[in-house]
Symmetry: C2
Subunit: 377 residues, 2 copies
Amino acid sequence: MLTTAASQDARSAVQLADIAVVLVTGLVLGRLARWLRQPVVIGEIVAGIVLGPSLLGRLPGDPTQVLFPADVRPLLSAVSQIGLVLFMFVVGWEFEKQLVRPHAGLAVQVSLLSVAVAFGMGVGLAALIHPAHATVAGREIPFGAFALFMGTALSVTAFPVLARILTDRKLLSTRVGSLALACAAVDDVLAWYLLAFVSALVKADGDHMALLRVGALSLCYVAVMFFAVRPLLARLVRRPAALGDRAALLTAVCAGVFLSAWVTSWIGLHAIFGAFLFGFVMPREPDLARKLRTPVEQISRLFLPVFFIVTGLGVDLGALGTGGYLMLVSAVGAACAGKLIGTMIPARLSGLSWTEARDLGVLMNTRGLTELVVLNA
Amino acid sequence: MLTTAASQDARSAVQLADIAVVLVTGLVLGRLARWLRQPVVIGEIVAGIVLGPSLLGRLPGDPTQVLFPADVRPLLSAVSQIGLVLFMFVVGWEFEKQLVRPHAGLAVQVSLLSVAVAFGMGVGLAALIHPAHATVAGREIPFGAFALFMGTALSVTAFPVLARILTDRKLLSTRVGSLALACAAVDDVLAWYLLAFVSALVKADGDHMALLRVGALSLCYVAVMFFAVRPLLARLVRRPAALGDRAALLTAVCAGVFLSAWVTSWIGLHAIFGAFLFGFVMPREPDLARKLRTPVEQISRLFLPVFFIVTGLGVDLGALGTGGYLMLVSAVGAACAGKLIGTMIPARLSGLSWTEARDLGVLMNTRGLTELVVLNA
């Protein structure tokens, strides 16, 4: 028993050292990014690439493997997931309804069109490259699934990365900023539906009702959050005892966020939507914001860089080769063009100025690294 | 790639749900404990036992396994380790030197004697029960190692549990409280040395220099912390820029704590000592305390209950059986008597009043559950 406990402790200790390395590297490269007038989050993702197989892993002795052994990575992921979920909760909380509601129709319209255009470009690209990439890990991938997958990959906006850029730059309270985040939310929900659909297609014995089930369950969950959890929270929070015991309040609210994140993940969407939704239905009492939002923000700010760096760790730029780079460039080009055009035109038609439409298009172009890595299949 | 990411996400999501369950159960049973005038931490450990195999796991369908599957427990452990380490850092920071220094000699004296008496009782108990427990998992355990192990198990004070009780009850700034913590620190360092020695003995090809190596390395580390890290921190923290960017300061200090925790764990002591030591050498500027201690405390307060509950989860009171319970009672009796007598007498001889000596003895009797579980081998 003691030996197991000891080896578990040793792994936890390596995880502590890893988090320390990640925090310091993220701090330094985040500063560098700010000095170069880039978002801090870009510095953190680059920190991950630097610590990963693309750079540190090429040094003799593979320091990346030594520093981040395979059995410790899930622990880091788990810690970063907590940071991410709490961060999305804060974003949801700050996502002012008054700014969104008048634009809700616009957001849906822009999102649908931008997804449609980017998705079309993805399918086009898939038609071009499918012959060379039809077999993945010895399995034949049918063109339909491949095209759906490419289309989805190209139409996704990286919700957490965009949210991070908007909060860092204090753009969340502007019209374009909140519109971009609303569009990205609609986009991402759409993308998760498409992904659920694709995986149902790829599985031979696939459950073709999956899409319907995900849709029905998530509608139910949104209804429960708005019509049951929101009034309950509002009543709970107004009790003076609740605001008195800050530690208990923090614990209870974080438990709620984690639970909500788990529900959306169980439904088949991503955990971040549950956290975002919980933030969205939180009461907006100023006292509550001061006492609760600050500590949650501090916790998320501490662990969030781990998420971006772990993401970067998974990327091996060196493994692409020349052909890979060419394909990457064309894919990125198609993705950017699709997103930019698909966002700007409906935005302009819906009454935004050209400048606003362009800014929105650029913001919607925010991508995570996962989307790029996916193309290396 | 996407499938792996999805299954990893699903595991992280279960971990989120688990943390939520843990937080809520801990909150409720912690409140109950406070209402019963017991330390909150007792409620949290009981919460772990309730959620574990002793109670919830006996219900049909084994809800404990469903709720806390084996592949998620390391993730929970990892999260709780972060809470524990940050908590020990805060304890180290609050552990006022002026209170300890005049008593340092006393602390060492009391600790050594209390360990010696409790250790002797452990060896005695080992002589009684060794014939019935000589074979563990099909391997013969020599009496020497068994006796050393029992002695160590009985002489340990649960440092984190004691620290938690002292901070919850605001006893850390009292003479007896700080003395108890100092004694527990000395005790635990001693116990880890003994444990290193035992494991060197048990391993046939054991490295008999282990004890010497652990000793030399830890002396070096303490010296580095006091003569290099402490002045460096003091200088860093006095720069106005450092206090200006709170988020960066929080990140840097947490990174330092994690790194220090890893160093002591790598040396062969426990990670908590590194965290405690880092807190001990932190500058005590009031501004710094306000800006930095509060967020660290909030983070640790959120995740620390997970540690106590995960500890409780590992306990199966039902597996003991009648003979086991008898042995448990005698072992606990021996442990308590050894600790109480071993603490009170040297404390009284060193000039404490009988009341203080008794309080110190009771506090030093704080045990973790690990010590009890260990007896079930």
